[in-house]
């Protein structure tokens, strides 16, 4: 990436005052990146920004509260940072934010599907329009836009909303490839038994690893999650789909009006359950009732985290 060196210079400048800077670097094969914790000057060179920088590093921030932390953010990641600030879960003065113009990240599930069982990846070259992947037996050329994560196809915030250092030229307001919630609306046109049947089928393969929760930047209860708590005892340990559905419903409710739709829950799912749709559903309701979007204004109070005697768009007296 053209601004990568500029970014490294910024980090170099800020690092002496920071305990750690969160970024991405290469991983076990050329097709994957991994979160990178920069603590020393020499760690900076390993930093790599590319469409493989999928992880939302804001997930680490609440756990690092109290430390001076730098964080490299995509536009969507910055919304998580804003939401954490809104909820008083991190301190603004402890965080140094490095932003860059993001042109989208890949969806590894889509690549895996396109490649099939291809074995080890030898090289991976990403240009503006294509990804060329050399596996052991042949070269695969994939169109980049088709491999982009769904959230990138509807992205409205490619530049970090909040930053202390911004490298590269801002993209501004992009034209999204798809409209918001189109997939959700298509799903909603199904009948109730069809939709319930869909979720029973999808969630039946859940292995209750709770990776969705662990990857979520706004799941901040950590050791006190309702999933494992015995007092209050929300979920049993029984192996049934009911408790799996129950957990996802709890998660969606806890995210209502807070979720920035970064998609980490769905990306982290090892069995590819489309759990993001549940949160999108809640978010669309919140948008329609409160005209509110999570994580875009550090000063705003999320609608479900305040109390009003009368809500403008909820007329209880007419119920």
């Amino acid at each position: 990436m053209k601004f990568q060196e500029e970014l490294k210079d910024s980090i170099r400048k800020a690092l002496p005052d920071l305990d750690v800077v969160l970024g991405w670097c290469g991983s076990f094969d050329p097709l994957h990146a991994t979160p990178h914790f920069i603590r020393r000057e020499e760690d900076i060179d390993k930093l790599e920004i590319s469409p493989l920088s999928v992880h939302n590093l804001a997930t680490y921030l609440p756990g690092l509260r109290g430390k001076k932390v730098g964080i490299v953010v995509k536009g969507c990641d910055s919304r998580s940072v804003v939401e954490l600030l809104q909820e008083n879960l991190i301190n603004r003065e402890d965080i140094t934010i490095f932003g860059f113009p993001c042109t989208g990240v890949v969806d590894q599930a889509k690549i895996k599907k396109a490649l099939g069982h291809a074995g080890n990846v030898r090289t991976c070259d990403i240009s503006d329009s294509a990804i060329v992947i050399q596996t052991e037996d042949k070269a695969h050329s994939l169109t980049l836009t088709q491999m982009l994560a769904d959230k990138c196809r509807t992205c409205r915030y490619p530049d970090a909303i909040i930053s202390d250092y911004f490298v590269g030229d801002k993209i501004g307001e992009p034209a999204p490839l798809e409209t918001d919630y189109a997939a959700l609306e298509a799903f909603e046109s199904l009948s109730v038994p069809e939709r319930f049947g869909y979720w029973l089928k999808e969630l039946d393969r859940c292995i209750r690893c709770y990776a969705c929760r662990s990857a979520c930047p706004l799941c901040v209860c950590r050791d006190h999650c309702a999933a494992e708590s015995r007092d209050p005892h929300w979920l049993s340990q029984e192996n049934n789909v009911r408790d799996k559905v129950m957990f996802q419903v709890i998660h969606a409710y806890h995210m209502a009006g807070r979720c920035t739709e970064c998609g980490e829950c769905q990306r982290a799912c090892p069995v590819d359950i489309p759990v993001l749709m549940l949160k999108q559903k809640m978010n669309r309701e919140i948008r329609d009732i409160f005209q509110y979007e999570a994580g875009v204004d550090p000063e705003a109070t999320p609608p479900l985290l305040s109390f009003n005697m009368e809500e403008e768009n909820i007329t209880e007296k007419e119920w």
């Binding site: 879960l89 901040v220 309702a226 708590s229 005892h233 479900l304």
Partner: protein, 652 residues
């Protein structure tokens, strides 16, 4: 826990559509239930004794009563189990009357539903824990909102009982609607002669602090410890030095100000004292009509005032008062009758309201007690009274009876004859409702001794004919149409909730009905209490009332306050939220959502944690639904207790 279940017949209320014996038999199969029976009246003395005996005999650890709503008898049964030595919270109630027998007729379904409700109650009871109240000090001062006759009575009774009273009145003088009346039914004694001394008592009582021309801005706190922010509206006159001499009023050149006290009959000066017996007798400026305030010129009153108390720059002032109880006596307002096109919708000057007529009859009113037509000042000959204007009329959203109009119309008809012996009064009525001591005799007198013509029927139209008004209506007893040439038409306008009643209710956290009248705690057994502890009702704010009833309620509310303050400490309700600090991550979401400001942040071993102030918490549970990890739990309604009820119901 050994559980006993008591299924009540409630006479035939429940037993008629629920097989209570079968419910008891099914309950015996539930886990932990060691005893179950059905009883005729569980709330009666033998019924309660049966519970006490069963607790002792079977060594019960908790009791479920399946009967009526907890609002009816939860307190009764809590005391019963306490009498047998159990903690009062080791009791659950299953509502199989309001929720079952009264709403369904199918005996089998009702029985099954009752079994389900009892199962839920036993499952919750197993997870109940003993809870204990804490004691807290109370502030033995009382706030009375509204200085009408009900408020005055409540204030005087409280003050005579030794309490410090703060009275807040919206208008510049106390007295309310009664002060505007000429005479009162059924004795026809002078209203200001009987109310006046009471008003003076309020002003002179050492225990009463009066804030006239003031409003309630904010109410915080809870029973025993309310904090009230009072807005003293700007009067532009320093009331500490104003002697009420009235010189300013005589000389004020702006004489077109709205005369609210006289219901708009005539005009008054921009600086004015509402009426000679006003309490406090202090002048105030109506800024909309004051030439000095509007245009910067004039200043006559400031020049002439012997005490130098005029201040054109005065601003609203706020004072804070701490009290332990509140009596709400905000009264009523008149229905806006201009919605009625058939009565001219306000176009004809000689169609007036009953309260305007009252001011006309009063010797201290704008006409000096002479009945004059507003249009030409002539004495009327035929006076037509129309009853139920904005009462008992579904078409204008006022289906209720205002209660006192029948009586004051009879009184006004009598007074009309007294003032103008040559006059003839007609009353168009729907029914005569004269239920009170000497009331029916009074209306009879109006008809028989004062020759008032009562016509049973509604008026369909009023229209001008020459300088008179033609009133056309039906006489339903004769089955004929009638027309009366009227010189003056008086509308018996109904009562509606006082303006701003809704906003005040929200500040007080009390509920009101769909017409804006405040809801009493129980329509029969708690007529002056509200569902908010420490807030009481007096007078017409709870529903239209005549003077004797309002005074009665004022005294009743005072008795409740004195009873409340007979103890030095109150017990707090232990059904409040409690924070499990092990689980709390200190995010403060509960602090943001608490409607009562009952949660604050505290520090525990260097970490931020939420902390509930028990006396402020009202147990609404918003914090518990806000906290994602369930660190805040509402006692007696914990997540586990609610989940166990859900699981008891959704077993398949």
């Amino acid at each position: 826990m050994k559980i006993g279940v008591f299924v009540c017949h409630c006479g035939s209320n429940i037993e008629a559509t629920v097989d209570t014996a079968a419910v008891a038999a099914a309950s015996r199969e539930f886990p932990d239930v060691v005893f179950a029976t059905d009883t005729m009246y569980t709330c009666s003395e033998p019924g309660q004794d049966e519970i006490v005996a069963a607790i002792k005999e079977h060594n019960l650890g908790g009791v479920v009563v399946a009967s009526c709503t907890p609002r009816m008898h939860e307190q009764t049964f809590r005391r019963t189990v306490e009498r047998a030595g159990l903690n009062r919270y080791l009791f659950e109630m299953a509502n199989i009357r309001e929720h079952v027998s009264w709403i369904g007729k199918d005996r089998e379904s009702n029985t099954n539903k009752s079994v389900d409700l009892v199962r839920m109650a036993t499952e919750k009871l197993m997870r109940n824990r003993p809870l204990y109240s804490k004691k807290f000090d109370i502030n033995k001062r009382v706030l009375v909102i509204g200085g009408g006759v009900a408020g005055i009575q409540a204030a005087l009774d409280c003050a005579d009982g030794g309490l410090e009273v703060v009275m807040v009145e919206k208008a510049p003088t106390i007295g309310g609607k009664m002060a505007k009346l000429d005479k009162t039914f059924p004795t026809v004694d002078c209203s200001s002669c009987i109310l006046g001394p009471r008003m003076v008592d309020v002003a002179q009582h050492p225990n009463i602090t009066l804030y006239a021309y003031s409003e309630i801005e904010e109410i915080n706190g809870y029973v025993g410890n309310f904090e009230i922010k009072v807005k003293k509206k700007a009067t532009y006159v320093d009331w500490d030095s104003c002697t009420g001499c009235g010189i300013c009023m005589e000389k004020c050149p702006s004489k077109k100000a709205t005369d609210t006290f006289n219901e708009g009959i005539g005009k008054t000066t921009a600086i004015n004292i509402p009426f000679p017996q006003a309490i406090p007798k202090k002048a105030k400026i109506d800024p909309d009509f004051c030439t000095k305030i509007q245009k910067g010129k004039c200043g006559v009153c400031a020049k002439l005032c012997p005490s130098g108390c005029i201040n054109y720059e005065m601003q609203d002032e706020f004072v804070t008062e701490k009290v332990g109880a509140i009596v709400t006596a905000t009264g009523f307002d008149l229905f806006d009758w201009s919605i009625y096109g058939e009565y001219g919708a306000g176009r004809y000057p000689d169609v007036i309201t009953s309260l305007q007529y009252e001011r006309m009859l009063s010797a201290s009113g704008p006409t000096g007690g002479h009945i004059k037509r507003p249009s030409d000042g002539k004495e009327p000959k035929n006076v037509v009274f129309i009853q139920c204007v904005g009462s008992r009329d579904k078409s204008v959203g006022r289906p209720y009876c205002s209660g006192f109009c029948c009586m004051y119309t009879a009184k006004q008809a009598i007074l009309t004859k007294d003032h103008l012996p040559d006059s003839q009064s007609y009353v168009f009525y729907m029914d005569i409702r004269a239920i009170g001591k000497l009331y029916d005799e009074f209306t009879r007198r109006a008809m028989e001794e004062y020759d008032t013509k009562y016509i049973r029927g509604r008026v369909s139209m009023i229209y001008p004919q020459g300088d008179r008004l033609l009133v056309r209506g039906a006489d339903t007893l004769m089955g004929a149409q009638v027309e009366v040439d009227a010189d003056l038409v008086v509308l018996a306008v109904g009562a509606e909730a006082a303006a701003g009643a809704g906003e005040l209710a929200e500040k007080l956290r009390i509920s009101y009905d769909s017409y804006g009248f405040y809801m009493e705690g129980h329509p029969k057994l708690k007529p002056v209490e509200t569902n908010t502890a420490g807030v009481y009702l007096a007078g017409a704010c709870q529903g239209p009332k005549d003077i004797p009833s309002s005074v009665g309620q004022g005294s009743a509310a005072a008795a409740k306050v004195l009873g409340l303050f007979s103890k030095d400490q109150l017990e707090s309700d232990p059904q409040v939220s409690v924070v499990d600090i092990k689980r709390c991550i200190g995010c403060g979401k509960c602090i943001q959502t608490c409607p009562f400001g009952a949660i604050k942040e505290m520090e525990f071993r260097g970490m931020a944690k939420a902390d509930v102030i028990e006396t402020i918490c009202q147990g609404c549970g918003i914090c518990t639904s806000t906290c994602p990890q369930g660190a805040v739990q509402l006692q007696h309604f914990t997540d586990n207790q609610i989940l166990s009820e859900v699981n008891a119901l959704c077993r398949f």
